[in-house]
């Protein structure tokens, strides 16, 4: 059932399939499917909704009255929602006239705090990688859909899904890192050094300043995440994951030229050994390592204690 403002005969029929998504040319109404990336408050009860669509790339549209509790489609225009939209062309921003839910990813992603924080970083990355509005970005769209599906179904660790999305999203944008051959001279690997600026692993002859030496396990994990080799990625240990996430974050921030706001809030899981290492520390690459609720409580109380000492 499609609910919206359009009266009988104005909207698309209930039997219309998503596959039939098409631009209606001169008609002021058009239809597309998309994933809600971000919402911003507008006026009394409206919202500006940023959507990554299948056919129109990233667009910003207005949801009228969606903040009212009586809104019929406010719940469908929340971040993470995969929706079928009907839009009316407006003077500056297009207006949402009808919405139908295709996949309510938000509900399951929200139920797990780790998935939520990784998911918001995925959404922000998708928004930043599709810099131009209305520039079709089908590959980014399909990649985002796959990432959210994986997060919602809990198939893999949320942190790994985020890293895989970032690496593959950068590849689509033209910044594919090289984990086998040297990123500068293309000499066959394996190589030991990683350089963010050079764009991947580098040989000792090409070594630019500011290289790091990741563990071979971390390099194998990064390579697996880039190619979608999930059995290898799922079998990786916490240390390799931590190294890989640090490198991925640094690589992303280098190419975006500006940090991602949500990345510092990403909560990553680790095993018992990683917990003891990560406890009380904030991990490399701007990625925060808070393994469990218990340690989060400890951290808060420690900070409260510190504040009280300072006051005294």
């Amino acid at each position: 059932m499609i609910i919206g403002w359009g009266g009988p005969g104005r909207g698309v029929g209930a039997s219309a399939r998503v596959g039939a998504v098409a631009d209606n040319g001169d008609v002021s109404l058009y239809r597309d499917e998309g994933i809600v990336l971000r919402t911003q408050k507008l006026g009394e009860a409206d919202r500006i909704i940023t959507v990554l669509t299948r056919a129109h790339g990233r667009i910003r549209v207005v949801g009228k009255g969606v903040r009212r509790t009586s809104s019929r489609f406010g719940a469908r225009l929340e971040p993470f929602m995969h929706v079928d939209l009907q839009l009316a062309t407006g003077r500056t921003l297009d207006v949402v006239t009808q919405v139908e839910t295709l996949d309510p990813f938000g509900r399951t992603i929200c139920a797990d705090y780790g998935s939520y924080t990784a998911g918001t970083a995925v959404l922000e990355t998708a928004e930043r990688l599709t810099a131009e509005e209305r520039e079709p970005a089908l590959q980014h769209y399909l990649l985002l859909l796959g990432a959210l599906r994986a997060l919602a179904h809990g198939e893999h660790d949320a942190g790994l899904v985020l890293d895989a999305f970032v690496l593959r999203g950068l590849s689509i944008a033209g910044f594919a890192p090289s984990f086998a051959e040297c990123a500068r001279c293309a000499a066959d690997g394996p190589h030991r050094l990683f350089s963010v600026q050079a764009g991947g692993m580098v040989c000792t002859a090409c070594r630019p300043p500011g290289t790091v030496v990741p563990s071979p396990e971390a390099v194998a994990l990064l390579s697996a995440l880039l190619t979608g080799d999930w059995p290898v990625a799922d079998a990786s240990d916490a240390r390799a994951r931590r190294d890989a996430s640090g490198i991925t974050a640094a690589f992303l921030q280098w190419h975006l030229e500006r940090g991602l706001r949500s990345l510092q809030f990403v909560e990553r899981r680790g095993d018992e050994q990683a917990e003891s290492v990560a406890r009380g520390t904030r991990g490399g690459g701007g990625v925060r390592e808070e393994p469990s609720a218990t340690s989060e409580v400890e951290r808060l109380y420690r900070e409260i204690g510190d504040a009280e000492v300072e006051q005294a």
Partner: protein, 199 residues
């Protein structure tokens, strides 16, 4: 452009949320034409609200004293605390006349994309309140949107191991509405939170 003072007033009014240049001009001329006593009352109200109002040291709600009226009221149950995002939500819940416990105002919801994490909210203050053992139930009444739900999940995970009863406000069908118009997300929640009818 008008004479200095009038234009100054229009500019200041135009900075208020939802007030555009035309509305600002209309309000400014209404003020010019209004009775001087009315205008003085408005001016006093504006200055007093900034001078006298501060945030309650216990719950973070707006208050005229160190503690707000609700935190000072001995008839309110200190064992039940309702966690809300903003002071506006306290007023909304107070209007129901159903809740006799106390509040905790977080000052927003967790929204990583806007750079707001748990450390930017009054979570630490909540943990301090819980630590003294008076609170037995925490009602999480954050907004029923994505950020509100994520904040609720975070708080529940944080507080549950401490042996408290943690509850979340029910969400579902609005009173006076038709079932057929409900969206599937809300209707799904209503099914999840269905309750037994005891006749």
């Amino acid at each position: 452009m008008y004479e200095g003072v009038v234009q100054g007033l229009i500019d200041e009014l135009g900075r208020l949320p939802g007030v555009g240049p035309k509305s600002a001009q209309r309000i400014a001329f209404h003020i010019l034409a209004a009775d001087p006593d009315d205008v003085h009352r408005l001016a006093t109200a504006l200055t007093e609200v900034k001078e006298k109002i501060r945030f309650c040291t216990v719950c973070g709600n707006v208050a005229e004293a160190e503690q707000c009226q609700i935190c000072r009221d001995p008839r309110r149950d200190p064992a039940i605390v309702c966690v809300v995002e903003e002071s506006k939500d306290v007023v909304a819940i107070e209007r129901t006349r159903e809740f006799r416990g106390r509040y905790h105002v977080l000052g927003g919801a967790i929204s990583p994309i806007e750079g707001i994490g748990p450390d930017e909210l009054r979570v630490k203050e909540l943990m301090t309140r819980i630590a003294d053992g008076t609170i037995t139930e925490l009602i999480i009444a954050t907004d029923p949107n994505l950020e509100g739900e994520a904040t609720a999940t975070y708080l529940a995970r944080l507080v549950q191991p401490m042996g408290l009863r943690v509850t979340r406000l029910a969400s579902g069908l609005p009173v006076g509405g038709d079932l057929e118009y409900a969206d599937e997300v809300t209707l799904g929640r209503a099914f999840e939170g269905r309750r037994q009818l005891d006749v």
